[in-house]
């Protein structure tokens, strides 16, 4: 059945997209989890809808608008966080909602039939436009190069901002870089797997990896592997269920539930191990 599935071009493409997305999510998700900016990445994802709507209205590629809105929101939230140094959740929620609202209003004003924003919101890993495979691969390359040359600085800033400042690192710029990367990753992957699966892939594999990793770079690799496994398993199992039993479970949500179950198991194993050590 596995070879069956692999015979379909749409399946190959979905698997490839998922594996490529896992790499980006492993790298960025690790920072999202340890630096606790998961809600910011949710906000950025939805804020980018303003740009999609504007693209339809003015007539430029919606993804370019999404990137611009995502990055601008990242910089805005980042600067506010650096200045205010306190809970940003109200501002994040506002950016989240306002971005969506702008997207819907812009899209409704656009000439011609109202475009389907929901397809951007939910995406579908089974119908990935080929160009996004290349985009995701390019994103992976950029992220890996950045980790090759700037990993220690980013790690220091994520671990201890004050110490990083004291030794002379550009802490503010590093934080904005981190948010900018999160924005770009989220926006590119929204079109590939949809916003919900993006948030899941950024957080769940990294959270599982954090249980077992000895270091931050180890956590990135582990998160990418876990993400890749969840996506592959989700694709094959949902395909198998559909072919063998005629049960059609949407692939994206199935992947998320699988990852969440794995997180539960991982937490349980960790608790058992800790219990054994203290006993």
């Amino acid at each position: 059945m596995i070879s069956d599935a692999l015979g379909y071009e749409f399946f190959q493409r979905a698997l490839m997209a998922g594996l490529l997305a896992s790499v980006a999510c492993g790298v960025v998700g690790t920072f999202v989890v340890v630096r606790r900016i998961a809600s910011i990445s949710g906000g950025l994802a939805h804020a980018s809808f303003g740009g999609i709507g504007l693209g339809y209205l003015v007539g430029f590629p919606p993804m370019a608008g999404a990137l611009a809105f995502g990055i601008a929101s990242a910089l805005g939230i980042g600067v506010a966080e650096l200045r205010l140094r306190q809970g940003m959740d109200t501002l994040i929620a506002m950016v989240w909602a306002v971005g969506m609202a702008l997207g819907i209003v812009f899209a409704s004003l656009a000439p011609g039939p109202t475009p389907d924003l929901l397809s951007y919101l939910f995406g579908n890993i089974l119908f990935v436009p080929p160009v996004y495979l290349w985009l995701t691969a390019a994103l992976d390359v950029v992220l890996l190069l950045l980790m090759r040359f700037r990993f220690r600085q980013l790690q220091a800033v994520a671990f201890d901002e004050e110490f990083s400042w004291v030794i002379g690192l550009p802490v503010g710029r590093m934080f904005l870089l981190l948010l900018g990367l999160t924005a770009v990753t989220v926006v590119v992957l929204i079109r590939v797997v949809g916003v919900i699966l993006v948030i899941a892939l950024l957080t769940i594999p990294a959270a599982i990896a954090r249980h077992w990793a000895g270091g931050l770079s180890h956590m990135m690799m582990l998160a990418a592997v876990v993400g890749g496994l969840c996506i592959s398993a989700g694709l094959f199992v949902s395909y198998g269920l559909s072919v063998a039993f005629g049960v059609d479970i949407p692939t994206g949500p199935f992947i998320i539930l699988l990852a969440a179950a794995l997180y539960g198991l991982s937490s349980l194993a960790l608790a058992l191990r800790a219990g054994k050590r203290t006993a």
Partner: protein, 254 residues
Amino acid sequence: MSTPPIALRDVGFGYASTPVLQSVNLTLAEGDFLGIIGPNAGGKTTLLKIILGLLEPDQGTVEVFGRPPAASRGSIGYVPQYAKFDAGFPIDVLETVRMGCLGPSVRALGQAGQRDLAMAAIERVELTDLKSERLDRLSGGQLQRVLIARALVSEPRILLLDEPTASVDTRIGRSVYELLGLLSGSMTIILVSHDIGVISRYVRTIACLNVRLHYHHSRELTDEMVEAAYGCPVDLVAHGHPHRVLPTHSGEGG
């Protein structure tokens, strides 16, 4: 005369109604080893953060080697209170200590040179066996020594320590102080602590801080200083250690 490593003139911080620091004057010479004691919320950590440039004073001026702290970044080693770290952050001892190598003075050494430097610092705090251990599996004292090694790795000319022995058992505490004693000839050290008894045995001069800084360039902790710093509020005296520790100290002080 050379530029003093640290010079604070008339530094104030906080609101007029509730000042955190008021008219703080402090000049340290190269090689000084100052211990600062004082009640909780007396402004000890704030003072360190102002010297580091993490906070801007509301009044007065701060100079580190004759320049504003922000312009002297990289010349100060800093040992923060360890309590604030996120226990879930996966990082081991060696990686943490290597963070100290990201500053301008040692960056040029390259990966291998930095690693050697970090290993030497780890050995100095006796953690070589634990170099690959995750931070959240260390004891409080071990973590404290990691943070000291991280601050020492770049061989800074100034070292600021915020309660480095707060949660450390006596033996480790003593080894930390002995290490600082060894270092004190080659760098300028400020050590903030509530541990008056131990502190006074190792530092060269001692000051009391409670909004105002009481400092007489000596190792002697006078009754007036303690009274001025811990002052009227009786509950602070009861919380703190002066009552218990002062007699012993007076005995040793001469």
